[in-house]
């Protein structure tokens, strides 16, 4: 199982990028929480430790096991999502977590990986004509995505739900969808939007038009975005320096160590810091694309591409939201935002990427 040749192909550069992001994340969490919530950063150390262990496992065992166990992985992730409704604990109105003593599990995070693996297996086995997939070909994979999507949307966890959609369309796109179908679906959703709009409550419309989350509290997101913009903008080119951010202000952000962590970072490290983080993410995503492109089989390609798409959309939506160019939907920033299940999932995903990468020459 472990071949010595693997080590020669191991991509230390990607690993360094990931470790770099985790370190930056920990520093930002520390800066944001050490005064008011010292529990958070100590817990984060545990998460990083657990994550590292899981990541190692994800690297060691060949990813071909993922294909073999795809049904089990997908099925148990659905079972976990369903169990949230029965044994889940709720926090501020959402029921997303399963409590396991000191450890709370957020099944929707793991569902993202399960979806990628299941879709990869499905698309891998499916023969697709040169023209691409028609509507009929899309039906089964759409169901594979819709089931966890509905369960997650019901919790409600809009952010993760959106990521599932993006993963699905990204993977389906790369497998190839007929041009006609792409245009048709585009037109269909564009036409549907006004109807969806009709179903929203009036105040929700007001929130969306003022670029706000339809689900969070009224004094919340729009206000957060403004505070976030102030934090980022006031950081300037060089930033205010580590731990020099105006913590008092950021206390306005209940999510300042999770979804809005980047505002803390950009305030303290300035545009330079923002560029470094952007650069690291870009490196991670490009190497993910390369891993996909050089993978030895179709399944590897699809998994690597799916994971890369997941990282990309999370980064893009989170940073867009923090910078005030996208509505607040509650998507955290991989490796940097605080969140146990989220960090572990991201690290497993990165481990799988490394796994595919180092086995590209091994048959």
């Amino acid at each position: 199982m472990i071949d010595r040749r693997l080590f020669t192909h191991f991509d230390w550069a990607i690993l360094s990028v990931i470790l770099g992001l985790i370190c930056i994340g920990f520093a930002s969490i520390y800066s944001a929480t050490h005064i008011h919530m010292p529990m958070i950063y100590t817990k984060d150390i545990y998460w990083i430790g657990i994550g590292a262990g899981m990541m190692l496992l994800a690297i060691i065992f060949s990813y071909s096991y993922l294909e073999r166990f795809a049904y089990i992985i997908y099925g148990s992730s659905i079972a976990l999502l369903i169990s949230v409704f029965f044994i889940g604990s709720s926090f501020s109105g959402a029921k997303r977590w399963i409590s396991l003593g000191f450890f709370t599990l957020q099944p929707s995070e793991f569902a993202k990986l399960a979806l990628i693996i299941m879709l990869a297996k499905y698309f891998n086995e499916k023969l697709i004509s040169d023209k691409g997939m028609g509507l009929k070909d899309l039906a089964v994979p759409a169901v594979i995505m819709i089931v966890p999507f509905l369960l997650i949307a019901k919790q409600p966890d809009l952010g993760t739900g959106i990521i599932l959609w993006m993963i699905f369309w990204s993977m389906a796109f790369v497998v190839k969808i007929r041009a006609r179908v792409i245009m048709g679906l585009g037109a269909f959703f564009a036409a549907l939007a006004p109807f969806g709009w009709m179903f929203l409550k009036d105040y929700q419309k007001a929130r969306i038009t003022s670029f706000m989350s339809p689900e969070s509290d009224p004094l919340g997101s729009g206000y957060h975005v403004m505070q976030s913009k102030i934090a980022i903008g006031s950081g300037g080119f060089l930033g205010k320096g580590f731990m020099e951010g105006t913590q008092g202000k950021l206390m306005f952000l209940p999510e300042h160590h999770t979804d809005f962590i980047f505002a803390v970072l950009a305030e303290e490290w300035g545009l330079i810091g923002a560029m470094v983080v952007l650069g690291l993410f870009l490196a991670l995503i490009i190497s993910g694309i390369n891993t996909a492109g050089s993978s030895k089989d179709r399944f590897g390609f699809l998994v690597a591409f799916g994971i890369t798409a997941m990282f990309f959309w999370q980064v893009f939506i989170n940073l867009g939201m923090v910078a005030g160019i996208m509505p607040v939907v509650g998507v955290p920033l991989p490796f940097i935002s605080y969140g146990g299940s989220f960090l572990i999932t991201s690290m497993i995903a990165a481990g799988i990427l490394l796994n595919i990468n180092m086995r590209r020459f091994i048959f």
Partner: protein, 650 residues
């Protein structure tokens, strides 16, 4: 060593699309980079200033509650602007000085200030704390002119609830109050966003329809200078008003009922017998919802809840009384339907009836002679119904009584409705573990004894008599609409049940009720002499104490042991449009105390076609209502518009 999947098998399968994805990724990162450059370099100076001065403050923008209309569209609960005083503790430089200034400028004591600050300890920094709600005009002016000397003080306009008809709708609409910890916890579970200091419906429809009436609060981010003074609004999240509500209430009838009842203790309710829509619901003594909603002092509140007359009780749905003679038509219907008597059965109904060695008196000293059921209803003979009741038996009587909706809640959308009580042998076994005595049947047969009803239940039953046999679920809300006028919900007319009594029987009963007000010797004969409204109905006098001597002089009896006076009826008898029930606690005789009140309700509702004394139909909520000094005028400027509440008992 080109063993890669791409290079070997289908090199070009994904290539074009992978390239497209790469381009997309590149573009996205470029947009983000550009955005960060824009915020951090281009607009840096602006954000730096905002950040350095800690220059933004947060104030909640309270959403106006939904407006409540009567059935014709007259506003009965509205919102008016009022000033609230806020303090931002971070901006306060000199606490003792500030507190002293405040206590001298406005009506507030240091204790209250400290309490308010304490309560909001957990708030994020630079969020304003509300110190006083709804300042008077004088206070507003004083604060406005002195605010430069007190850093950290801020005035803000917020909608205040205004009950246009004040005390007349007090129990029905209820009032607002600051949410308490218990309610806060309950709402948290329901996933509603409340925070300490928020107002919530505390009573009546305001409480029952809290979810509909409450809007979604917004927020204001205000840019301030170094002294914490407002410069401009940086960010404005508009509040969204609550849903509007149209009631089934006819405000003219409601006000008429209140005027007629305000110096008495009791309740008046009216209903459209064709639909079950409640037209009026008044309970006295009452409170001033306008004063309560803007906050009362502890003493005032204590006085209210410790009032021995139970001001905070909505007697229409929470008062439980023996129905007394108003029960006789229901009894008659049961007896006729069961064949115990026929319309022609004549029974000797003397001054008293002897049973098991005891005399059961009739209210009429001379007795009624030999009469049939029609006359028994008209003259309200007790001895007639004693004898019929004994023949019918308690359990058959109880069965029919329950069909009329007694003993179960009507389901009207008001909290803490009482169910009343229909006694039966089975009930007594359960409740007391003893068997039923026939003597008790005698009491129940004239609506006394264990039997209890709320005024609304009795109304519900009389509406069923009026419409021929349908027991409606009482409705209070006609329609709930969004602020833009779109319908949210429209409660449907719903049956609680059918009486299942023949039309013939119901005709006899209705004719008896017509006789009460139209035939010679009818107990409420005067109702047909003084008006031409074709009222049919029944009076009732519920005994409070058994030991009272027979007397016509009610004033000579101590208030506490005076009888309760009932009137229940409907009009016009040939096509009933409105059913009315009135109870006057310790009012003495039903005919003299309750029937005149009921007449005012009938008059107000049935003369609606004419342009009569009362309320302007044009929505002019701020205007005082013509129609007597009874109605509280509401002014927009003065936040404490109501005069001192009048004590309402005699």
């Amino acid at each position: 060593m080109s063993s890669s999947y791409f290079k070997d098998k289908e090199p070009r399968e994904f290539k074009g699309r992978v390239f497209a994805a790469t381009v997309l990724i590149g573009t996205a990162f470029f947009i983000l980079l550009f955005r960060f450059w824009y915020l951090q370099v281009k607009e840096h100076a602006y954000y730096k200033e905002l950040s350095e001065n800690n220059a933004t403050r947060l104030i909640k923008a309270v959403a106006p509650r939904g407006v409540i209309y009567d059935r014709l569209g007259i506003k009965i609960a509205d919102n008016r602007p009022g000033f609230d005083l806020y303090i931002i503790p971070e901006d306060v430089k000199d606490w003792p000085g500030t507190k002293q200034m405040l206590t001298s400028l406005i009506e507030i004591d240091e204790e209250t200030i400290n309490e308010r600050l304490d309560k909001s300890k957990k708030r994020p920094p630079f969020q304003a704390v509300k110190l006083k709600e709804d300042l008077s005009w004088d206070e507003t002016v004083r604060i406005e002119s002195a605010k430069f000397e007190i850093p950290g003080i801020m005035l803000d306009v917020a909608p205040k609830r205004s009950y246009v008809f004040g005390e007349a709708t007090a129990h029905l609409l209820g009032y607002l109050g600051e949410i308490n910890e218990k309610e806060l916890k309950e709402r948290e579970a329901e996933n509603n966003v409340y925070s300490p200091g928020d107002l919530t419906g505390k009573y009546g429809l305001e409480k029952y329809y809290e979810k509909d009436l409450r809007g979604v609060d917004g927020g204001k981010e205000i840019e301030v200078d170094a002294l914490g003074r407002k410069i401009r609004v940086v960010n404005w999240i508009p509040p969204y008003p609550g849903n509007n509500m149209k009631l089934t209430i006819d405000i003219r009838t409601q006000v008429a009922a209140w005027i007629a009842l305000k110096d008495k203790v009791g309740a008046a309710v009216a209903m459209d017998p064709k639909t079950g829509k409640v037209l009026a619901m008044v309970s006295t003594p009452t409170f001033d919802p306008n004063a309560l909603s803007t906050g009362v002092s502890r003493e005032e509140w204590k006085e209210l809840i410790e009032n021995p007359l139970n001001v905070m009780n909505n007697r229409a749905v929470q008062g439980q009384y023996p129905p007394a003679s108003t029960f006789k038509p229901i009894h008659a219907a049961a007896a006729l339907e069961e064949g115990v008597i026929t319309p022609d059965t004549k029974i000797m109904s003397g001054p008293s009836y002897w049973f098991a060695g005891r005399a059961y008196r009739d209210w009429k000293e001379e007795g009624h002679g030999i009469i049939n059921v029609h006359r028994a209803i008209v003259e309200s003979s007790d001895t007639f119904f004693y004898q019929v009741g004994l023949k019918l038996g308690i359990d058959r009587l109880a069965d029919y009584t329950k069909r009329f909706g007694f003993g179960t809640k009507t389901g009207v959308p008001i909290h803490n409705e009482k169910a009343g009580l229909v006694p039966s042998s089975e009930w007594k076994k359960k409740a007391y573990g003893v068997k039923w005595y026939e003597g008790e049947t005698i009491s129940v047969s004239v609506g006394q004894g264990y039997m209890l009803t709320t005024p609304l239940q009795l109304l519900n039953a009389y509406a069923a008599i009026a419409n021929g046999g349908t027991l409606w679920r009482p409705l209070l809300v006609e329609e709930v609409t969004t602020p833009d006028g779109k319908s949210v919900s429209k409660p449907v007319v719903e049956k609680r049940g059918e009486l299942g009594i023949s039309e013939k029987t119901m005709d006899h009963v209705r004719d008896g009720l017509r006789g009460v007000t139209h035939d010679d010797g009818g107990t409420a004969r005067f109702l047909s002499r003084t008006t031409d409204l074709k009222i049919a109905g029944k009076t009732g006098t519920a005994q409070v104490s058994k030991l009272i001597k027979r007397t016509k002089n009610v004033e000579s009896i101590a208030y506490k042991i005076r009888d309760h006076a009932w009137f229940a009826g409907f009009a016009p008898y040939d096509d009933p449009q409105i059913a009315v029930v009135v109870i006057v606690e310790h009012g003495g005789f039903g005919a003299s105390a309750a029937a005149p009140v009921a007449r005012e309700l009938f008059k107000a509702y049935l003369s609606k076609a004419e342009d009569a004394a009362g309320i302007e139909t044009a929505p002019a909520p701020a205007a005082p209502i013509p129609g007597g000094p009874a109605v509280i005028p509401i002014s927009t400027g003065n936040p404490k518009p109501a005069p001192a509440p009048e004590e309402a008992h005699d």
